[in-house]
């Protein structure tokens, strides 16, 4: 099957490893993965800031670029819900575009959902560690991603999953929210970091780079010794890459 991989802007610039790991997992499952160079981002920033015209022109581009593929797969719940849930909303008054947006919506998947629900991949790895999973908001509430990452992770041998007190509470990232209201965002991510610390886990995993940058950045500042990874990085084997937010 032909897959158009939607990199997402954050992964493209700040954490290419997530794309590399995703593509490895997809190719291991015999997918034919393409990364169209005509893609930019999903338009979330414009959409959440009320700029619908810009959102539409970006959405049109995404639809044009990814229509030819059997599936669109992206390593982020929030970008994917932009494409899957909000593109059809954007074009609700343009019949033709709406149909195309709906078609793309139907074949668009977040990576973990795709690996688990569509490909049903088997992970044959061993990784002795205790991890805790942060449910990023868009993925959880707009796409219903909850069990998939946990099922995939639990296939890794010797990996223990321990839950936070409140894994479903927002980390305070919220896209531009974290720079528009930095103090509030800091307060929220501080609580999240403490919740993570109290699990005693060595590793935090999640499905959205925005949240992971936010949490890893805060934990590092608070001297909480936790390593942050995107779930696919763990699934694909992380031996050779540094945790998110760490430099050599």
């Amino acid at each position: 099957m032909k897959i158009g991989f939607f990199v997402t802007c954050l992964v493209d610039t700040l954490r290419p490893e997530i794309a590399i790991a995703s593509i490895k997992l997809l190719e291991d499952a015999n997918c034919d993965v393409h990364v169209p160079s005509q893609q930019t981002c999903c338009a979330q920033i414009a959409f959440n800031n009320g700029d619908l015209e810009t959102s539409k022109s970006i959405a049109r581009n995404v639809i044009n670029v990814f229509e030819p593929f059997d599936y669109l797969v992206a390593p982020s719940g929030s970008c994917l819900s932009m494409i899957k849930v909000h593109y059809p909303e954007l074009f609700k008054d343009e019949a033709k575009m709406l149909e195309r947006a709906n078609n793309l919506s139907e074949k668009s998947y977040e990576i973990l959902t795709f690996l688990n629900d569509i490909l049903d991949i088997k992970i044959k790895k061993r990784f002795p560690a205790t991890v805790t999973y942060h449910d990023s908001c868009s993925g959880l509430r707009e796409l219903g991603i909850k069990s998939q990452p946990r099922k995939l992770l639990s296939q890794i041998k010797d990996l223990k999953i321990t839950e936070m007190h409140e894994p479903e509470v927002c980390c305070g990232f919220g896209g531009t929210f974290c720079v528009k209201y930095p103090e509030i965002s800091t307060n929220i991510v501080t609580e999240k970091s403490n919740d993570i610390k109290n699990t005693g886990a060595d590793i935090l995993v999640g499905g959205d780079l925005g949240c992971l940058l936010n949490i890893s950045g805060r934990c590092s500042r608070m001297n909480i010794p936790i390593k942050c990874f995107h779930t696919v990085e763990l699934l694909a084997g992380i031996d050779d890459c540094l945790p998110i937010g760490k430099t050599k």
């Binding site: 954490r15 920033i45 800031n49 810009t54 581009n61 528009k180 500042r221």
Partner: protein, 473 residues
Amino acid sequence: MPNTNTEFKYKAREALKDEQLQQALVGVKQGLVNNRLDAIKVVPEFESFRNDAAAVKQHVLENLDLYLEEFEENAISSGAIVHWAKTAEDARQIILDICKQNNAKNIIKGKSMVSEEIRLNEALKNNGLDVVETDLGEYIVQLADEPPSHIIMPCIHKTLSQITQLFRKNHTDIHKADKNYSVADIVNEAREVMRRKFLSADIGIIGANFLIAETGSIVLVTNEGNGDLCSCLPKTQIITTSIEKVLPTLDDASLLLKVLARSATGQQITSYNTLLTGPKQDNDKDGPEEMHIVLVDNGRSKMLKTELREMLRCIRCGACLNHCPVYGSVGGHAYNSVYPGPMGSILSPAIEGLEKYYDLPNACTLNGRCESVCPVKIPLTKILRHLRNEQFKKRLNNKSTRFSLKLWSFFATRPKLYHRFNSLFINALNIYINILNRCSAIPVFSSWLKSRDFAPSQQKTFQQIWQSRKEND
């Protein structure tokens, strides 16, 4: 018109530094959230109750005029007097006139968010009337001369010792200055003070949770019983309520009650649910001789025209506040509006203008936890985004936001340039961080770096890496 309103940001900052407030908010974030969970755990059908409740409220909105007319007709035939108020000002005038006609001096009030919305207390006070809030929480914030900070728990931001001080100052006749007051002592003292007020009041003003079209009755939901005393003791009763509160039948009220208490306080049902129909009847030993119902519009019929329509389903349970990380961080007062939290971030700009409340729709991470608990399934994040769109169209957001958005969309709509820019950007960023360690000089990063560390993981973008892989193949 450029927005200059920075009040929310300022108050939010102050709130974050207020240790007592932060302590109190833990009770919201954990206490109330857990109460709700415990209450719905034992009701497997809760989800379908939510669906039904949302459908009933939506149906009412779609036939609002008809149900209001039916309600009015039945209320009048039960002997009540129905008033219509287009604006807050109109509502205040109507109520002041009723007070005047009755030569009233002393007024007792049950909790009513509509009366807060129309700033009734201030108007009554300015006209020489003595008004006492009888809901304990409302009474406490009245003594402190503060607005409520939560729609169902008005004094959630106050600690016991702060409340004791307030009582000491105000109840000089009965307060024992040397005593260490417990919660029970405070409640008892308030009870004693309030009893005298109840029995000597001329008018009782209460709110209503629902209006029943079928019977012309109002439904009142409380735990303390103060609303019931307000409505059976004074000679005249005024009900301040708003037009969207009408429900078709009593059965619909049972359904809404099933979701209201569980979402609000986590009770299966509150202590008192009261159905009031008309004034006292022949030979009744108590009850008011006159029952006035003031139906307030104050922007609601206008909301019905817009994408904000679904917000009119709100039953004021407060669950969205309790589950909101922003409310949980800054509390209610930072919003500087009668209605705080997610529901307030929509209602306040809707009623009083997007300009005045610029920050409220923006101060939200769009995490959606509020709508996942809303008993009438209001799509809160969708409506908040809609408000942001309205603000954008009216050019209300500040220049630098608009400029950055423009700049970004210039690149985002030009793929080739976009990728070039990204590669340059990531290169430059690495140089800044690794060599100059100066990334706090870049605007976006400086507010990030105040509380968080940051490091990109590579010198290259993924698109660059992928390109070279394809060339090698």
